[in-house]
Amino acid sequence: MPAKPDAGTPGKKKPKLAVWKFASCDGCQLSLLDCEDDLLAVAGAVEIANFPEASRAVVKGPYDVSLVEGSITTTHDAERIHQVRRASKFLITIGACATSGGIQALRNFQNVDDYVSIVYASPQYISTLKTSTPIDEHIHVDFELRGCPVNKHQLIEVLNAFLNNRKPNIPKHSLCVECKRKGLPCVMVAQGIACLGPITQAGCGVLCPSYNRGCYACFGPMETPNVPSLMDWLEQLGVDKADIVRALQTYNVNAKAFRKGSLA
């Protein structure tokens, strides 16, 4: 963790917060604006110095804390992320795009030129990298917050931890742990619904199983996932191999464990 940012000390300057966007849907930074009950409190604890989605005012860097949303898909962005790093004392990536490359990383397994010509009439105007990569493949990242989108309570927790110079309380265990604590019957055991909970990091609040649905892994792999074992279980449930592969190839397709499992 960095030097204490002097949060809340009277007379001291408030830490400067910046929010940066790369290839993404804007949903993770919107999570900050969706913290309706806490937004003005956050705005009171930090100086919102650079947050284009919310303000046209820009305060010059360096910034005490940067939130980075989105993945790297263009040469321009591959350079820009280094500028963001240089201007940031503490850098937190938020969401599946920034932490794994996002769903746009599906291009990593195809010929991107084919993709361009499917979508655009004049491919010569498109400039894009062959891959979509997470931020930590380009620069040092101080903390990664998972989710597609991130959980706004976890986002507040991470900012709160930073302001108070402590470690964020963000568990890395599987969704199953969270599901059991909530007392939900296992959707896979009780209803035979395919669920990626055993290999997925907790943090969403067990949304899908609460709605009679299997987890689709939008928080990415947990810390020690056994992907081949779960794939075997899903096959025993009668799920087609092609469906299992597609289930791993979504919002965190480029996360190592999912990539390896789905290509095996």
Binding site: S24, G27, S31, A43, E53, A54, Y120, C218, R246
Partner: protein, 437 residues
């Protein structure tokens, strides 16, 4: 990030390198020579993400969740447009309480998105603030009211969808789980407060000062015989379009313009068109509730409004409608026996279109007999509006050249924000190439 310069050769350039208070990455470049407008470019540098390409080969049931990721601000527009298109391809119709629940969650998205735009993105322009946080220092009650209204919209999304951004409970055929009536009724008292707050908000924004601009727009919106169209309807315009959604491609077509970043949409043989609140209001005024019509009358609006700066009032009128409609839907709700209709894939093409908060969001998919997607086309409202935004600026700037650069620049930004542009809906945006003379 703003750059301005005034050169001695009579060239005046106004640049906004990174448009603020819009969703996504865009820029504006205006060039004036000898006090004549030479060029207006709304640049989009949002990197392409190729949704239409990687949807090919995916299962038809995956489309709602995958396409939601096009936009974190209006995921319901994508989830429902995709679901409806797939249902049509498979010959299934979702009706009754399931249809009502879809309309209800869409009311949540309208409230959440409209209130976000009105209070946090657009109102600061009218009141001369850089953002809502600064606005909150002088008008704490107003901003607190906005945040609470927005939270109530999100509460509908969360209750029905599991979460407000990329809800997890919507599927082809309906929902994974439907709420009890009792659960829905927990929203009622907040919605009643929200309705009153929205009426107050219409009064507030109607007192703003609006720059003059009234172009002769072709408004395009969905129209439904029985209701203010949100989640379905025919494609209509004030200049003669009246067609089922499956004929969308016959009327609106995309053109690849070399100097622009986006595929520009034109109405065939005419020109740009206007999607969003002003279009819906003008074409479906008769379907608004009595309350919404009264509130808009008191705010000085007629049955149609062509000043894009006044879109903030219409957005608030629609917010009034959405709160009232949500209450109506909850009052009439009876929990269905099944949370979804069974959908068996069959080879074919299906079309879906809904009214996203910022205008029509169109989907077309072709699937094979196994339900795998063969072809996908998705058109976001901001892609369609982009040409109209540039046209507005071409009309607005020459009439306001007397303004100093910083003021003119701010008003140009405001003119773009009139459209609540959502640039992250990146499907149809390209990287800019600069045209050199």
């Amino acid at each position: 990030m703003v750059a301005r310069n005034k050169k001695n050769n009579g060239t005046r350039t106004i640049k906004v390198d990174y448009l603020a208070r819009v969703e996504g990455e865009g820029a504006l470049h205006v060039k004036l020579k000898d006090n004549q407008l030479k060029d207006v470019k709304l640049k989009i540098f949002e990197p392409p993400r190729f949704f239409e390409a990687f949807l090919r080969g995916r299962d038809f049931r995956e489309a709602p969740d995958i396409t939601a990721r096009i936009c974190g601000i209006c995921p319901i527009a994508y989830q429902l447009g995709a679901s409806q298109a797939m249902e049509e391809a498979c010959g299934v119709k979702v009706t009754g309480p399931l249809r009502d629940l879809r309309r209800l969650i869409y009311c949540g998205e309208w409230i959440e998105s409209h209130v976000l735009h009105v209070f946090m993105l657009h109102a600061p322009d009218f009141l001369g603030y850089e953002d809502a946080i600064q606005l909150a220092k002088d008008y704490p009650d107003v901003v607190q009211r906005g945040l609470k209204m927005k939270r109530i919209g999100n509460d509908i999304m969360t209750l029905l969808g599991g979460r407000e951004i990329h809800p997890i409970n919507i599927k082809v055929g309906g929902f994974y789980k439907v709420p009890t009536k009792k659960k829905l009724q927990t929203l009622v008292s907040d919605l009643q407060w929200g309705l009153e707050a929205a009426i107050e908000t219409v009064k507030l924004v109607s007192t703003f000062t609006f720059p003059d601009l009234e172009p002769d727009y072709e408004f395009v919106a969905l129209r439904h015989p029985n209701e203010y169209a949100i989640a379905e309807g025919r494609l209509v315009s004030n200049k003669g379009i009246n067609a089922p959604i499956k004929q969308y491609d016959d009327y609106l077509f995309e053109e690849h313009v070399a100097h622009s970043t986006a595929l520009h949409t034109h109405v065939r043989e005419r020109g740009a068109c206007f999607l969003g609140p002003l279009a819906r209001y003008a074409l479906n005024y008769d379907k608004l509730s009595k309350t919404a019509r009264e509130v808009s009358k008191n705010a000085g609006l007629g049955k149609s409004c062509s000043n894009p700066f006044k879109s903030i009032i219409v957005r608030c009128v629609e917010t009034v409608y959405a709160f009232e409609e949500a209450l109506r839907l909850i009052a009439g709700y009876q929990m269905p026996d099944m949370p979804a209709v069974d959908v068996t894939p069959q080879a074919g093409t299906g079309y879906g279109a809904t009214e996203a908060p910022r205008g029509i969001c169109y989907h077309r998919y072709t699937i094979d007999a196994a339900g795998l997607i063969q072809d996908a086309k998705i058109v976001s409202p901001t892609a369609v509006n982009q040409k109209q935004i540039e046209n507005d600026l071409r009309e607005f700037i020459p009439a306001n050249l007397h303004l100093p650069d910083d003021k003119l620049q701010w008003q140009c930004e405001q003119a773009i924000r009139n459209y609540d542009p959502c640039i992250s809906c990146s499907t149809h945006f390209l990287k800019l190439t600069i045209e050199r003379q």
